[in-house]
């Protein structure tokens, strides 16, 4: 029972970070209908940003998100304005090629700048934990979960209550109709890509104290982000949140009860089952 609770809690904590990655991808897809294959690489940029701020300026990784979020937002907005925007409405495979290409440029630039060596960010709390009724909770993971929860809550509030948020949602629901209602959809796209990038960058910042950093790390997370968003329903923020936590728990529990070598199999079987019975994802509305 203790082992089960332990794995469940680890799964939820890591799932929170996954959710953040998934939400970023789902916002971008929802508003722009562009599948961002550079999502993992944007996350990687966020990791290196956190790493640099920590090693050169001594800024704590969790504090540094105050700097990372706006910088990553601007980076995403720049990408949208300069590259992605030109491909709006183009064939999906062209958009995919563009984002894959951007991702490769990012990872190779980082390789030139930082070499391909693994970087480890060691803070004094990197391997500390809190004991709670026999279950140990990783301090950095717990902090990052709390930050994730706060950011997600703020995001919901922004999207539901503010005018800009509602305009973003309107664009996501029907681009043409939104434009007819006087919403500046181009601006909304920039905003959405900026937000998506900021979320991915934040997720990168949040896991860097407990993980390691190297230029090719992006692909792992791109794949994960896809599974999460498709599982939850493309374009659905609630779906991405749930999807992230489900994947986190599935990985963690299957590592204990089956084998850590098999956990990816479990995740993908689960993924296939959801697609089989609910092709649009858990929270998705079928567009057929």
């Amino acid at each position: 029972m203790l082992v089960f609770m332990q794995s469940l809690i680890s799964g939820i904590l890591i799932g929170g970070v996954y959710a953040l990655i998934g939400i970023g991808l789902t916002i971008i897809f929802g508003v722009m209908r562009v599948i961002n294959f550079a999502h993992g690489d944007i996350l990687m940029i966020g990791m290196y940003m956190t790493y640099s701020l920590f090693t050169f300026f001594g800024i704590d990784p969790f504090v540094s998100i105050v700097i990372t979020i706006p910088l990553m937002f601007m980076f995403g907005a720049f990408l949208q304005k300069v590259f992605i925007n030109r491909m709006q409405g183009a064939l999906p495979q062209n958009q995919i090629l563009l984002t894959i290409g951007l991702g490769m440029i990012m990872s190779n630039t980082m390789m030139l700048a930082f070499t391909s060596d693994y970087k480890i960010l060691s803070t004094d709390y990197s391997s500390s934990s809190i004991k709670l009724a026999g279950i140990s909770i990783s301090t950095p993971l717990a902090i990052s979960f709390l930050i994730t929860a706060a950011i997600t809550a703020m995001l919901y509030w922004f999207l539901l209550k503010t005018d800009t948020g509602q305009a973003i949602r309107a664009t996501a629901q029907d681009r043409e109709a939104a434009q007819l209602m006087g919403i500046n959809v181009k601006w909304m796209s920039i905003l959405a890509f900026g937000m998506g990038s900021a979320l991915a960058g934040t997720a990168g910042a949040l896991i860097s104290p407990t993980y390691y950093i190297f230029p090719q790390i992006g692909s792992t997370f791109t794949l994960k982000a896809f599974v999460i968003t498709v599982l939850g329903g493309m374009g659905s923020i609630v779906g991405a949140t749930i999807g992230g936590v489900i994947i986190g728990i599935a990985e963690s529990v299957s590592a204990v009860y089956i084998s850590s070598g098999w956990k990816d199999v479990v995740v993908f079987v689960l993924f296939l089952l959801v697609l089989l019975f609910k092709p649009a994802g858990l929270m998705g509305k079928s567009r057929m």
Binding site: I120, S127, S128, S129, Y212, A255, S260, G261, K263
Partner: protein
């Protein structure tokens, strides 16, 4: 005609022992100079460079023929073919197991003595190849030396394995499993993982539930740090952590003292060992290249010394060099070296693996006792 006569004369002078210094002896060196293994390959190249200089001081002129295999077996094989055609007396290298294994069969085919300095795969010297020699200890010694050390220090009854599901991880653990079966230790967990997952906590808490006496891990640098960090979080508390792989012997790992202290690992060579010239080699290497040598550098240095001496003594003749390697014995920075046939191995040096323990962020040799620089700390102290 005159040219033929000259060649004959030259050959005669080469064949006479003691006159070897008259003409340089050709020795091939295959190494991963570029490619993903290049950072380690650099150590081998530097070791060989130092060996050539030292040979020169002894009056042995070596004409070194360097070949880059970029870490790929097929390129390594064509390098070997090229060298065989250029009339080398012998070849030192290649670095990686995959390359060395591929090249070993070619060495036999072309009858070129091959001295493998640092590749660990057991199979290389287990195929009964007469022209293939190996200086370093094969992979099975990694596991057995660690387990032996644990058995000297205490009475462990159970062991848990956690390792990367690659060739490197699974093969090391396979030999470890065979060894513990002989020693009567029970395996309570057998967990392989795919490298790069951010969370090993659940696997580790499963292992913790079994309460093993020993935890044996095989992984590269980044995962080694992650695994130990998360072991601390979970409170996994065995009598000893045994690091059976590359990641646990790096300076980067040792620097993370909160999690790396008191972890055991194993290596082929260190500078504080009492083998003749080890400390001197370390100092000269550091002065020359501005970096500390790894065990690869020491292996390559000693391998080139042995090959250079033997080949020049035998006038660059391949058959005689092969016989010379077989019958000779050496004493140097790698301890006593002799190529023997035992336990299914052919021409394998019975190299003594050293067991290290990280104490205050430094690697200290703790086993075998006659080479030890510090006493081992056992059992593993309670996590703070």
């Amino acid at each position: 005609m005159t040219r033929n006569l000259l060649a004959l004369l030259l050959a005669a002078s080469l064949a006479v022992p003691g006159m070897a210094s008259a003409a340089p002896v050709k020795i091939g060196f295959i190494n991963s100079i570029t490619g993903p293994e290049a950072p380690i390959g650099e150590n081998l190249t530097n070791g060989v460079t130092m060996a050539i200089e030292d040979l020169k001081k002894k009056g042995v002129e070596v004409q070194l023929m360097k070949e880059d295999d970029t870490g790929k077996p097929q390129i390594s094989m064509s390098a070997m073919e090229k060298l065989a055609g250029q009339g080398v007396a012998g070849v030192v290298g290649p670095y990686t197991s995959a390359c060395a294994n591929a090249v070993s069969k070619l060495a036999e085919k072309y009858k070129v003595p091959l001295l493998v300095p640092a590749a660990a795969k057991e199979e290389i010297t287990r195929q009964g190849l007469k022209y293939v020699y190996r200086l370093n200890a094969p992979a099975d010694k990694y596991a057995s030396s660690l387990i032996d050390a644990a058995l000297v220090m205490g009475k462990p009854k159970t062991i848990a394995f956690i390792y990367e599901n690659t060739d490197f991880g699974t093969s090391t653990v396979k030999t470890a499993k065979e060894y513990i079966a002989k020693k009567g230790i029970k395996m309570v967990a057998d967990e392989s993982y795919s490298k790069g997952s951010p969370d090993y906590r659940s696997t580790l808490s499963k292992i913790k539930g079994q309460n093993p006496d020993l935890v044996f891990m095989v992984s590269y640098v980044a995962d080694a740090i992650l695994l130990m960090r998360q072991s601390r979080e979970i409170g996994l508390q065995p009598q000893a952590f045994l690091g059976g792989g590359a990641g646990f012997t790096t300076v980067q790992f040792a620097k993370e003292t909160t999690i790396s202290n008191n972890v055991f690992s194993t290596t082929q060579w260190t500078d504080d060992v009492s083998w003749p010239g080890a400390k001197d080699f370390f100092n000269r290497y550091k002065a020359k290249f501005g970096k500390e040598p790894t065990y690869h550098a020491a292996c390559a240095y000693q391998a080139m010394l042995i090959m250079g001496e033997t080949a020049s003594k035998n006038g660059g003749d391949r058959e005689k060099t092969k016989a010379g390697l077989k019958s000779g014995s050496w004493k140097g920075i790698m301890g006593d070296t002799k190529f023997e046939d035992y336990d299914g191995f052919t021409n394998q040096n019975k190299h003594q693996m050293l067991v290290l323990q990280i104490q205050d962020g430094q690697f200290e040799t703790v086993f075998p006792t006659n080479f030890a620089s510090k006493k081992p700390i056992f059992p593993f102290p309670k996590w703070k």
